[in-house]
């Protein structure tokens, strides 16, 4: 069917009562044109997931030739419905390179695309394989008790094996996970719902439990209902529990990290309960793709930053999820598989080693004004940046120094104290340092009422990250807030009290007047 006949059919269906199938006429020829223009770059001309852009991606773009789709409303092994394919095109696959196309392509183009994708696998032509959506039903009421029960079933059906006890994708089976193509893959970090491939609502999580994610290690749990191992309500509880692990949406990104003035000793321990009361700022991270070796598949998706200061010292806490506590030889095979899957553009192909995890905090090495900042990627030869670097090996080491680009780092005296803790797939590192240092060689003197540019870098050694293979943030600002002067808080309280008192007087008078006249 050509585009024109499709349009005629559509028009006709408006004028005359026509079968629904005509109204939704799909055009595989038109779909092929759209596909070749917008999709083939990653998914390949023939749909085998092998376009020019594919090699830099993990997970790889979908290979349509097997008719295996991750996000479906159908049972494991079944083909997806048209609506399932449409949804992936319209909304994209969060947590992957696949964007949504609703804004880019017209309704007709996206519909035609569905028709074309179905020509790429012979399974769709098999009339015995008609996909049937699973009956999902409605979620039972949630709440704390639902979440508590969900945790019990999370344990009893073995979710922790891959997703870990805290849900951060660090379970004991994590280092050996592979997708259908034998490429290394990872269990979702259940605390970062905004990256869930199939969406993060309770209903969407429940659907993934029922259908599995075909092509990945994630199985279906539907058979457990048939076998009465678990009731449907209990499986909903698992979805409710998983849902409870993530914030409602991706954390808001704010430009300025405010470090409040702190009375008493600084919380130098990453586990200090005081940190619970300190505002945390989310820095999303991306792969370093400016310099060789470029890195398109970083493991660390973002870092929480918190800071407090006293009159003379600063404490900076960085918290990020990392499914492996590197260096760890049990991840070495995984590291090798990642490096083999994402061929680097370095002159000598890297050989997997048990690399450590690392984090770096970067400030300008000189006083900057306004929006002026050194080159974000570790400065330049003539415009260095001042960095704190923490490395997980040998029990953890912290150094300070000047970076002049990726290649050169000169350590300086006066490094901060770094204290780190790894807990269930999460690193927590606290740097503490005096605001000003006596050593004049140290370029960065912190001061209140001045916002200092700040950026972070992170490496997951087990993901093959070291050197230029890393995740990085853009520039943010760190502002050391001035302490609230004593009495400053009393003014608004006094004002409120006064307003309330005056209000009461007015009301009472009005009531008295009303009584007198009534």
């Amino acid at each position: 069917m050509t585009r024109r006949t499709a349009v005629v059919a559509l028009l006709g269906s408006v004028l005359l009562p026509a079968p629904r199938s005509l109204l939704l006429a799909q055009d595989t020829t038109a779909g092929k044109v759209v596909y070749e223009k917008w999709c083939a770059g990653c998914h390949g001309e023939g749909g085998a997931g092998d376009g020019p852009g594919a090699a830099a991606m993990l997970p790889r773009p979908r290979d349509f030739t097997f008719g295996i789709y991750q996000i479906r409303t159908t049972a494991t092994g079944q083909l997806p419905t048209d609506a399932d394919i449409q949804r992936a095109i319209d909304e994209g696959i969060p947590g992957t390179a696949m964007p949504g196309w609703r804004a880019q392509l017209s309704d007709a183009e996206r519909r035609d695309l569905v028709a074309h994708l179905k020509t790429l696998s012979t399974f769709f032509a098999d009339t015995t394989m008609r996909p049937v959506p699973v009956e999902f039903g409605d979620p039972p009421g949630g709440g704390d008790e639902a979440v508590r029960l969900g945790r019990l079933f999370y344990d009893s059906i073995g979710c922790r094996k891959c997703h870990g006890d805290a849900g951060r994708g660090d379970g004991p089976s994590a280092p050996t996970l592979e997708d259908d193509a034998g490429l290394p893959t990872f269990a979702a970090d259940l605390t970062q719902g905004w990256l869930f491939n199939g969406g993060a609502s309770v209903a969407e999580i429940y659907r993934r439990l029922r259908t599995g994610l075909d092509g990945t290690p994630m199985p279906t749990f539907s058979d457990l209902l048939d076998q009465q191992f678990l009731t449907d309500e209990e499986l909903w509880r698992v979805a409710q529990y998983v849902h409870s692990l993530s914030p409602a949406r991706m954390p808001e990104v704010r430009d300025v990290v405010h470090a409040p003035a702190w009375s008493g000793p600084l919380p130098a321990d990453p586990e200090d309960s005081a940190w619970a009361g300190v505002e945390a700022y989310w820095f999303p991270l991306v792969g370093q793709i400016v310099r060789r070796p470029r890195w398109f598949t970083p493991a660390v998706q973002g870092i929480w930053v918190q800071a407090v200061h006293t009159a003379d010292s600063l404490a900076l806490r960085l918290v990020w999820n990392d499914r492996s506590r590197s260096p760890d030889t049990s991840w070495l095979a995984f590291t090798g598989k990642v490096l083999a899957a994402v061929p680097g553009d370095d002159s000598v192909p890297p050989v997997a080693e048990p690399w450590p995890d690392q984090v770096a905090v970067q400030f300008p090495a000189r006083t900057t004004t306004g929006m002026e900042r050194p080159y974000f990627l570790m400065g330049a030869a003539n415009d260095p940046v001042y960095q704190w670097r923490w490395v997980s090996s040998e029990g953890g080491r912290t150094v300070a120094g000047l970076a002049r680009g990726l290649e050169r780092f000169d350590t300086l005296p006066g490094s901060p104290v770094g204290r780190a803790l790894y807990d269930e797939g999460q690193w927590r590192v606290v740097f503490t340092r005096s605001l000003a240092t006596a050593d004049s060689a140290n370029p960065l003197q912190f001061g209140v009422e001045r916002a200092i540019p700040m950026a972070v870098f992170a490496w997951d050694g087990s993901n093959g990250e070291h050197g230029g293979r890393m995740a990085l943030s853009t520039w943010y600002f760190l502002a050391l807030d001035t302490p609230t002067p004593p009495g400053a808080l009393a003014v608004p309280v006094l004002a409120m009290g006064l307003t309330l008192g005056l209000g009461l007087v007015v009301v009472r008078r009005a009531q008295r007047r009303a009584r007198n006249t009534g």
């Binding site: 097997f66 079944q78 089976s173 075909d214 290690p217 749990f221 191992f229």
Partner: protein, 243 residues
């Protein structure tokens, strides 16, 4: 490379195309192709599996469990070789699927059996005898995949079937990366898997000239051509050499 020794085929080849009724009778009795699979060269050492994460599985072993990709029998034969009729059956030969289920068990964090044959449409019963989570993922290409979870000892097995002939469909557990099994899915009942004595026997064959294939997960495939007639028994042998 091994050389297969096949008893020469002769006149029998001419009897291949009988009427349906005639080969129907022959299938009752039929011919037999039998033999064994020999192994030459150094027997590879199977890597030990660390089951410390799964004490319930580890407890099922008195000697440390190992991978199962190459099992050389004491008589110098090779186990877990899938031997089947690859081609040569009369066109339109469509026997009904066997109804007796094939059972695969997850026991001691290993699949039992490691290699098996199954007919298209024949039920596969998937059992878990371990009190812990296994997922069993079928990675067929001609067949639709499946990936199901069995978090504890199963009270009733999960049942699946395969819809197309495919040698082999690999099955794996992602929770335990070492767990691997292979299903030879064929559209007829003429298949066998070598066991502890390394022999196989394909019984009830209609008269004809057949390509017999022997598949091993590490050493690949070998084929032999055998012609049989009536109720005779022919012997063929495969030899896989260490790599």
């Amino acid at each position: 490379m091994s050389k297969l020794r096949v008893a020469a085929g002769f006149a029998g080849a001419l009897v291949v195309l009988g009427t349906a009724g005639r080969w129907g009778e022959a299938a009752q009795a039929g011919a037999t192709v039998t033999g064994r699979v020999k192994f030459t060269g150094a027997k590879p050492t199977m890597r030990r599996i660390d089951m410390s994460e799964e004490s319930a599985c580890a407890a099922k072993y008195t000697t440390p469990p190992t991978e199962e990709s190459v099992i050389v029998n004491t008589n110098g034969t090779l186990a877990n070789v899938f031997v089947y009729v690859k081609s040569g059956l009369p066109a339109g030969y469509k026997p009904p699927a066997a109804t007796t289920p094939v059972v695969i068990d997850q026991d001691g964090c290993h699949y039992k059996p490691h290699v098996f044959g199954i007919m298209v449409g024949q039920p596969l019963h998937i059992k878990n005898s371990d009190p812990l989570l296994h997922n069993i993922k079928s990675k067929g290409r001609a067949n639709r995949p499946f990936n199901i979870s069995q978090p504890n000892v199963t009270r009733t097995p999960t049942v699946r079937t395969f819809s197309a002939a495919e040698v082999m469909v690999s099955l794996e557990c992602n929770v335990h990366g070492w767990m691997q099994a292979y299903a030879g899915v064929v559209a007829h009942p003429f298949f066998a898997v070598t066991g502890a004595d390394g022999t196989f026997s394909l019984k009830g064959l209609p008269p004809g000239t057949y390509t017999i294939e022997a598949w091993h997960e590490r050493y690949g495939v070998q084929t032999a051509t055998v012609t049989v007639a009536g109720t005779e028994t022919k012997t063929t042998e495969f030899t896989f050499a260490a790599k």
